[in-house]
């Protein structure tokens, strides 16, 4: 007992001695360093993007590549800004197809996952179907959709929807199913109905899963719409790229379509991130942003 007493006495002395010796030790760190770091972190994404385009630009100029091999990114930007009407119209067509496909995929995935989350039987019956869709190269279905719907937006919308459906349904299912067993038991201890457990526990728990699926699915819906346009279309950015590829004189149009498609995807992801920040304020992922 005395030994323990001695040890604490010693520790207290050390702490006191430290405090007496150097009172300035306990001041907060200077503000300046903190602000520089924060500023650097803010502009880091812009620096990352700029380095890609500047590197590309320099590479083409130094190697003196033909535009048909790889054009200057600056020329592509100029070309796009010279033809705003063309890219606006075609971009809108592709965006509509992708957006409708995205929403269809989301709704269908949530409905299917909710049914599957409600019963063990439905889950076991539904899983092989999901795996089947997951393992089928969806692009091969585009000719089938063309056969069914012909020269309309629907083959492209369906392709976009099918591309986006797989991650949506997989994540929705995980989100609705993988709930915390203790919280589940807690709700059961009040005799909560499965409807209440669905709305109060499963749905909020699934939200972060749905958001991370949505981030992937924005890109996938655009891929689906573009692939649909490759097969048979007279409009849209996929079609513009295909036409651009077929004629050397339209090389800039091919690259312009790529740039505008990338831009549409980025805007979609940024929009989603804004919504996510509002809806998922409670989620640990948001403390990093």
């Amino acid at each position: 007992m005395t030994q323990i007493h001695d040890a604490t006495g010693l520790a207290a002395d050390v702490i006191l001695g430290d405090g007496d010796g150097d009172a300035g030790d306990d001041l907060p760190p200077p503000e300046e360093r903190h602000r520089v770091r924060a500023a650097l972190l803010t502009i880091a994404p812009i620096l990352g993007l700029a380095s890609v385009f500047l590197g590309w630009e320099a590479y083409v100029r130094i190697m003196d590549l033909r535009p048909l091999t790889l054009p200057l990114p600056s020329n592509i930007f100029i070309h796009v800004f010279d033809n705003p009407g063309f890219y606006w119209e075609n971009g809108l067509v592709t965006l509509k197809e992708a957006a409708i496909g995205f929403v269809l995929a989301f709704v269908a995935a949530v409905v299917v996952a909710s049914i599957m989350a409600h019963s063990r039987f439905m889950e076991r019956a539904g899983l092989p179907v999901i795996v089947l869709v997951q393992s089928t190269p969806i692009a091969v279905l585009v000719p089938v959709f063309l056969l069914w719907f012909g020269f309309s937006p629907w083959p492209k919308i369906l392709t976009a929807a099918l591309f986006a459906w797989v991650p949506f349904v997989a994540n929705a299912l995980t989100g609705l199913r993988a709930i915390d067993p203790d919280t589940h038991e807690l709700l059961r201890s009040t005799s909560a109905s499965s409807w209440e457990i669905f709305w109060r526990l499963r749905v909020p728990h699934a939200l972060p899963y749905l958001f991370s699926a949505a981030r992937i699915c924005i890109g996938l819906a655009l891929v689906g719409a573009v692939i649909g346009e490759f097969f048979n279309s007279s409009e849209g950015l996929g079609n513009a790229a295909r036409v651009g590829q077929s004629q050397p004189a339209l090389n800039e149009q091919l690259w312009g379509s790529v740039f505008v498609l990338a831009f549409v995807g980025v805007v979609g992801v940024l929009l989603l991130a804004t919504i996510e920040r509002r809806v998922l304020r409670w989620h640990p992922s948001q403390s990093l942003v």
Binding site: E185, L186, S189, T190, S191, R200, W282, H283, P284
Partner: protein
């Protein structure tokens, strides 16, 4: 519950929780485990009873049988003259799980209100908003009223879990090792916070724990369980006066209680 309850038994046990020859088996991967064997136990209304025993002795199973979350294979459980399933439907249980089990998308305030919101058919709608705030205040959570669980320490999260249980205003409280994940300093503090709330409310508490001193300082009676199969080996009355305080942890009665539980555990092991 499939078994009918003997009306005589019901008449005798209008209150409290009563086990009569209760057995429970579990089947895992085709293997049958005898979790609990012929449990006879009476838990007085308004008392604080701890269940203690080695791992795998069925403490948590016993708690869940009392709470209607599991069903007995043999024997009867009577809770305030009803089956546990009936009491569950009436929301007569406030449950405190081992993990805080807070909803991460709800603030502290809304987590505390949770149990009153579900199963609206039951008459138990939870305590008033004012009483909820008072509970939050008493657990020292007022500064975190609108904080999300991820912003709280483990101890604070478990305090929310306890406030949430008391906010239901149920006559029975079931606590499944609620302090086991906390550090010793935090849990020592929380024992008395829990006791202060319980002394105001006067509900019946069944408290599962691994800690002998915790069982003694909290409880009126400590139920000692043995393993393989789980059974009650001893029930020890704790003679400490109420309200309890940490000063009693140095008293002879406390040490006597700790020694008695330890010896009972050892006897059950041999």
């Amino acid at each position: 519950m499939h078994e009918l309850i003997d009306p005589d038994v019901v008449a005798k046990t209008q209150q409290g929780i009563h086990f009569h020859g209760v057995s429970k088996w579990f089947r895992r991967k085709g293997q049958l485990t005898h979790a609990l064997s012929r449990i006879d136990l009476d838990i007085e209304p308004g008392s604080f009873v701890s269940l203690i025993g080695p791992s795998g002795c069925g403490k948590s199973t016993l708690l869940r049988l009392a709470g209607g979350l599991l069903e007995a294979d043999r024997g009867t459980v009577v809770v305030q003259g009803e089956t546990p399933a009936q009491a569950l439907q009436r929301k007569h249980y406030a449950f405190v799980p081992q993990q805080p089990a807070l909803m991460p998308w709800r603030t502290v305030r809304r987590n505390v209100a949770l149990l009153g919101e579900t199963n609206r058919k039951a008459r138990m709608k939870g305590v008033s908003k004012e009483a909820q705030l008072e509970l939050i205040e008493q657990m020292g959570l007022t500064p975190f009223l609108d904080a999300y669980p991820r912003e709280l320490s483990g101890g604070m999260q478990q305090r929310v879990s306890i406030a949430r249980a008391f906010a239901l205003g149920a006559p029975l409280m079931l606590m499944d090792e609620p302090f086991s994940a906390l550090d010793e300093i935090t849990r020592a503090d929380m024992r008395y916070q829990l006791l202060a709330l319980w002394e105001r409310v006067g509900c019946t508490v069944v408290f599962v724990t691994h800690s002998i001193p915790e069982a003694v300082i909290l409880s009126d009676r400590v139920v000692v369980l043995g393993a393989r199969p789980g059974r009650v080996t001893d029930v020890i009355d704790v003679g400490l006066a109420r309200p309890r305080s940490d000063a009693q942890e140095d008293s002879d009665e406390f040490h006597a209680g700790v020694a008695a539980v330890r010896q009972a555990l050892k006897a059950g092991w041999d």
